[in-house]
Symmetry: C2
Subunit: 208 residues, 2 copies
DNA sequence: GTCTATAATTTGATAGAC
DNA sequence: GTCTATCAAATTATAGAC
C-alpha cells in the first residue's frame, strides 16, 4: 500500500483515459461506432498505444460493461435504506428504468448486445458481488416467502427489463407511460402494503 | 393481373434470392456479419448487382425486419382459434418466447437493435395491420375491461419481451425455466379461468 | 511507453463496359 | 441486368524506431 502500489503509477491513469474516451464515444454514437482508432484520436495517442493497456477492442468493451453495470448498481444502491422494503423496491424499480432511459447506449451494451457482454457486466458484478438480481432480491426478502424469492427477483427483473428495453426500441408503439408500466409490474408485490398511493404519486412527477 | 403483372417477371425472384441469402447469413453469424459482399458471394452475383434491387445494406435489413416480424405474426396466428380466450392467450405467449428462442438472431434484429429496425418491422406490420400488440390484444378483449385492454396488452408484451430478451442475453443468470416465467406473467389474466392447470402442464412438455 | 509506418482485411458504393 | 474494376474509407493489429 505504500511503495509497491506505486510501481505502476500511470497505469490506471492511462487505462482510465482510454475508458473515458470509449465511454464518450459509446454514449454519443453507440457501441457500433467504437473503434480503437477513434479512442486513440480522442485521447491524443496513437492506436498502437492502446494495445499496451488493453488486449483489443473487445477487452475495452468488457471493461465498459463492468463499469456500466457498476454504475447501474450504484443507482440501485442509492435508494433510501431507511425506507420500508416496499418503498425501497419501488424506488429501485423506477431507478432501474430511469437508468436505461438516461444511459440508453450503456444499457443496450450491457443487456441487449449478446450474452458475452452481459456476462462481462454481471460476472464482474461491481466491487462486491452485487447483481441486478441480488439488489432486487434484497427488498423482496421481506415481501416474499423464502422459497419464492429467487424466482420473484427474476420475474421482476424480466418485467423491468422488458419495460426498459422496449422503451428504447419500441417507444413509438408504447402508449402507456413507462412509470405506469413499472408501477403495474410492482403491484403484485405491494398488494397490501399501502404504498400503492406512493407509487402512483411517483408516476406523475417524473421527468428526463 | 394477366399481362401487366409479367412486366417484371424476375424482379421478385432476384429480390427473394437476396433476402434468402441475407437471412441465412444473419441466422448463422448474426446481423453484424451481414454485408453486401457476403450476400453477393452466397447468391453468386457481383456486389454491384445488389444495388439494382436494394438501395443498400440498410434497405435489406429493413426488409429482413418486416419479413421476420411477419414470421412472428404467423407464429402467433397459429394458435387454435377455437380455443377459449384464456387458452389462446396462453398459447400465444408461449409461442412468442418460443419464437425468440428458435430465431434469436431475427428476434434480436427486430426488437433489440434500434428503434429504426423495430419500426421497420412493426410499421410494415405483416400483410395486414397486425402487430404484436394487436395480436395479444385480441384474446385480451374477453379478459379485460374495454378501458384497460390497451395498457394490458402493452404490459403483457413488455413482460414477454423481458423474458424472451433476457433468455437470450442473460440465460446464465436466470435459473427459473422460461415457460414458468411466462406462466407467471400470464397469471393475472387467467386468475379465475381454471386454465392455470393447463398452463402448468404446458410448462413441462416443451422442447426446442 | 509511445510513436510512425504499415500490413492485411473488410466495408459500402459507383462508373462504365457489355 | 450483370459484370469487372475500382474507389475511398475504415477496421484490427503488429513491427520496429526512439
Amino acid at each position: 500500500m505504500t511503495v509497491i502500489a506505486q510501481r505502476t503509477p500511470k497505469r490506471h491513469v492511462m487505462r482510465n483515459a482510454i475508458l473515458d474516451a470509449a465511454r464518450a464515444i459509446v454514449l454519443r454514437h453507440g457501441f457500433d461506432a467504437l473503434s480503437m482508432r477513434k479512442i486513440a484520436d480522442v485521447i491524443g495517442y496513437s492506436p498502437a498505444s492502446l494495445y499496451l493497456h488493453f488486449e483489443g477492442r473487445d477487452a475495452i468493451a468488457h471493461a465498459l460493461c463492468a463499469e456500466g453495470h457498476a454504475q447501474l448498481m450504484d443507482a440501485l444502491r442509492s435508494v433510501d435504506p431507511a425506507a420500508t422494503p416496499a418503498g425501497r423496491l419501488t424506488e429501485m424499480a423506477h431507478a432501474y428504468v430511469a437508468f436505461a432511459r438516461d444511459h440508453p447506449q450503456i444499457y443496450q451494451l450491457i443487456f441487449m448486445e449478446n450474452s458475452a457482454y452481459t456476462a462481462a457486466a454481471m460476472g464482474h458484478a461491481g466491487s462486491d458481488g452485487a447483481t441486478t438480481l441480488s439488489m432486487l432480491g434484497d427488498p423482496l426478502t421481506a415481501l416474499c416467502t423464502e422459497e419464492k424469492r429467487p424466482a420473484a427477483a427474476e420475474i421482476l427483473w424480466a418485467a423491468l427489463h422488458g419495460i426498459a428495453s422496449l422503451s428504447l426500441t419500441a417507444s413509438a408503439f408504447i402508449g402507456t407511460p413507462v412509470d405506469a408500466l413499472v408501477d403495474h409490474a410492482l403491484a403484485p408485490y405491494l398488494a397490501n402494503t399501502a404504498i400503492g398511493r406512493t407509487a402512483r404519486r411517483r408516476s406523475s412527477g417524473r421527468s428526463a
